[in-house]
C-alpha cells in the first residue's frame, strides 16, 4: 500500500543535500521536517491555512501564510535550489502560471499530482457516470478543492508546451513504484494513481 509517507519519502529522495527549498502548500510541515532531518535542507514553507503555519513554526520550521496563486511572484528569480508542490497544483486557480513561476523561482521543481487518467478513475466514471471517488480523490464534486485535475499525459503535454524539461518521473499506485528518466510511458497514465515529476527549465 503506497501511503502518504511513501510519497514524502520519494520526494525527499529527489532533493539534493543542503539545498535551499520552498515547499508550496507545506501543510503541517511533514515534508519540510523530513527534508530537514534527512537532507539537512534550508527549508521554507508557504501554506494557505494560518493554523498550519503556526504548527510548522512551533516545530522549528520556517513558514509563512500565503497563497500559491498570488504569492509566488514575491520571490526573486532562482531564489531556491528546488521548489516543491506536493498534491497541490490541481487545487490552484491557474496551474499553468504556477508552473511557470515554480521554474522561475527554483532551479528545479518537484510536482506531484493525482492522476485523473488512472484506471479506477476511468472505470468509476464509465461504470456509474458519476464523478469518480477514489482514495486519492476522496471528495464529492461539490466540496472538492481539486478544481484543475489532470492526467499524467495532460501534465506532460503542458510541460512540452512550456518548454519545461522533465528530468525524472516516479509513478505510483498501491502496489508499484516505477521510475523513469524523463517523461513516463503511456501505460503509466493508465496504471499510475499518482506521479511525481522532477522538472527544470
Amino acid at each position: 500500500m503506497v501511503n502518504n509517507r511513501t510519497d514524502l519519502e520519494l520526494i525527499t529522495s529527489l532533493v539534493d543535500k543542503e539545498a535551499r527549498i520552498l515547499d508550496v502548500g507545506c501543510g503541517n510541515g511533514e515534508l519540510l521536517k523530513s527534508l530537514k532531518n534527512k537532507k539537512n535542507v534550508k527549508g521554507q514553507g508557504l501554506e494557505l491555512k494560518q493554523e498550519r503555519v503556526n504548527k510548522c513554526v512551533a516545530k522549528g520550521l520556517s513558514a509563512i501564510q500565503g497563497n500559491a496563486d498570488s504569492d509566488l511572484s514575491l520571490y526573486p528569480d532562482q531564489s531556491f535550489d528546488c521548489v516543491i508542490l506536493s498534491q497541490t497544483i490541481q487545487a490552484t486557480n491557474n496551474p499553468k502560471n504556477i508552473l511557470i513561476e515554480l521554474i522561475r523561482i527554483g532551479r528545479k521543481a518537484i510536482i506531484s499530482i493525482p492522476n485523473f487518467g488512472y484506471w479506477k478513475v476511468r472505470l468509476g466514471f464509465a461504470t456509474y457516470g458519476k464523478m469518480p471517488i477514489t482514495e486519492k480523490l476522496s471528495n464529492n464534486w461539490y466540496d472538492t478543492p481539486n478544481i484543475h485535475l489532470c492526467s499524467i499525459l495532460d501534465f506532460v503535454d503542458l510541460c512540452r508546451e512550456l518548454n519545461i524539461k522533465i528530468e525524472k518521473t516516479i509513478v505510483l499506485n498501491s502496489n508499484n513504484i516505477k521510475s523513469f528518466n524523463g517523461a513516463p510511458n503511456s501505460w503509466s497514465n493508465f496504471f499510475g494513481e499518482e506521479a511525481i515529476f522532477l522538472i527544470k527549465n
Binding site: 510548522c56 513554526v57 512551533a58 513558514a63 526573486p76
Partner: protein, 377 residues
C-alpha cells in the same frame, strides 16, 4: 520618582564616548540601565536582547521595584519559559530617553548640572538601538542569538536587523510596523497635547518648578491604553456595567466600569513614568520609518540577509494590525530572507503579545529552539 531613579536596583553601564544621534547632535555621557538573566556561556553565543515597548522597562522578568509587580513579560521570559533563562543570557535595557535609569530627559545634563528637561535632544529608534549596541559591546558579545521585542520593541528589532545584520542570528519583531502610520501618530499627538496642556507641565520644566503634570500624563496613558485593547476585549471585560452602583448618576463621575478602569490605569502610570520621557519616546516612534531612514525599500534593506526572522501579529490588533506585519513578511520574502510569519487568532487587541496566548508561546519556543540548534547552543 525623578530623584530616585539612579537608585533603582539594576545594572548600569556608563560610557563617556559621545553617542552621535540621528538628528546630528550627540549625548556626551551615556548611561544604560539594564537587567540581565541567566548566564553568558563561554563563547558568548547565547545572548538575547529584549527590547521593551513605549511604557515598558528593563524589568522584563523580575519584580519592578517601583510597582512591586512581576516583570512585564515574566510569562515569556524565565526558567523553563519560551525564552528560557536556564539556557540563554537575556538582557533588557531601559531605552535611551527612558526614565528608569538610562539617559533621558530626567537625567542631569553634564553641561548645565541640571536635568535636561526639554533640552534633551530628540531621539529616534535607531539612537535607542545604538545605545543598546554600546552595552552589547561593553559586554563583549560579538553576535546576539536573537533580538526580540513587541510594538516599539519590534521597531528596535527591525532597526537592529537593518543596521547590524552581522551582529544578530535571528530577529523576532512582534506586533509592530516598519513605519508609524497617520493613525499611530494621531494617537500619540493626543497624548502629547494632554501632557503639554497640563499647567503643571511648566513648559517642560516641572522638575525645577517642583510639580509634575500627572493629569496630562494620565490622560495620555488612558488614550493610549484604549489603543492597546479591542472592542471585543473591552466588551467582554466591562460591557456597559456600572461601577459600584445600580443606576447611572446623571453626572460625570466614573459611572461605568470602563471609566473607572481607565482612570486607575492613568493614575498608576504616573507613579512609574515621566511626562517628558513620554513625549520623547512617542516622538521617536512617530519618526520611525525604516525605508526613509535607510533610503531603500524594505526589500532592499533586508536583501541577502542571513538573519532568520519570525514575525508575529495578532488578529485583534488594530494599532499594528496583521497587514502591517505582513508587509514586512512580503518584503523579506522578496529579498530571499528566511522568514516565518504567524498570525495569532486573538481578540485581545495589541496587548495580546503580553498576555496568555498559548499558540504564540509555542511559535516562540519552536523558533528559538531551532535558532539555538543552528547556532550550536
Amino acid at each position: 520618582m525623578n530623584n530616585d531613579q539612579n537608585k533603582l536596583p539594576c545594572s548600569y553601564f556608563t560610557d563617556n564616548k559621545p553617542l552621535l544621534l540621528e538628528s546630528g547632535t550627540s549625548i556626551d555621557e551615556l548611561t544604560v540601565a539594564y537587567e540581565s538573566y541567566g548566564k553568558l556561556n563561554k563563547d558568548k553565543s547565547n545572548a538575547i536582547i529584549i527590547c521593551h515597548a513605549l511604557s515598558g522597562d528593563q524589568f522584563v522578568a523580575s519584580k519592578n521595584p517601583l510597582t512591586d509587580k512581576d516583570g512585564w513579560w515574566a510569562r515569556m521570559v524565565g526558567s523553563g519559559k519560551p525564552i528560557d533563562t536556564d539556557k540563554y543570557f537575556v538582557i533588557c535595557a531601559n531605552v535611551l530617553g527612558g526614565c528608569l535609569g538610562s539617559t533621558g530627559p530626567t537625567s542631569i545634563n553634564p553641561k548645565t548640572g541640571e536635568e535636561y528637561g526639554l533640552n534633551f535632544p530628540v531621539i529616534t529608534i535607531s539612537d535607542m538601538v545604538n545605545a543598546q549596541l554600546r552595552l552589547v559591546q561593553y559586554l563583549e558579545i560579538e553576535k546576539l542569538l536573537s533580538v526580540i521585542g513587541g510594538s516599539m520593541g519590534g521597531m528596535q528589532v527591525l532597526e537592529w536587523a537593518a543596521s547590524y545584520p552581522d551582529k544578530i542570528h535571528s530577529a523576532i519583531p512582534i506586533a509592530t510596523s516598519s513605519r508609524h502610520t497617520a493613525q499611530n501618530i494621531a494617537f500619540h499627538e493626543l497624548g502629547r497635547q494632554a501632557i503639554m496642556a497640563d499647567p503643571d507641565w511648566h513648559g517642560g520644566n516641572y522638575i525645577k518648578a517642583g510639580s509634575n503634570p500627572i493629569k496630562g500624563l494620565s490622560i495620555a496613558r488612558m488614550t493610549a491604553h484604549v489603543t492597546y485593547l479591542s472592542e471585543a476585549s473591552l466588551t467582554k471585560k466591562f460591557g456597559r456595567r456600572l461601577q459600584d452602583k445600580e443606576e447611572i448618576s446623571f453626572g460625570f463621575d466614573a459611572d461605568f466600569q470602563i471609566e473607572s478602569y481607565l482612570r486607575h490605569q492613568g493614575q498608576t502610570f504616573v507613579d512609574r513614568f515621566d511626562a517628558n520621557s513620554y513625549l520623547y519616546i512617542t516622538r521617536a516612534m512617530d519618526y520611525f520609518d525604516l525605508e526613509k531612514t535607510h533610503k531603500k525599500s524594505l526589500t532592499e534593506i533586508y536583501s541577502k540577509t542571513n538573519i532568520k526572522f519570525l514575525i508575529t501579529s495578532f488578529t485583534g490588533d488594530w494599532l499594528y494590525p496583521p497587514s502591517e506585519n505582513l508587509m514586512i513578511v512580503r518584503a523579506l520574502s522578496a529579498g530571499g530572507a528566511d522568514v516565518s510569519f504567524v498570525n495569532i487568532n486573538s481578540d485581545k487587541g495589541h496587548d495580546a503579545f503580553l498576555l496568555e496566548e498559548p499558540e504564540f508561546d509555542d511559535a516562540m519556543r519552536g523558533f528559538i529552539n531551532s535558532v539555538s540548534l543552528e547556532a550550536n547552543i
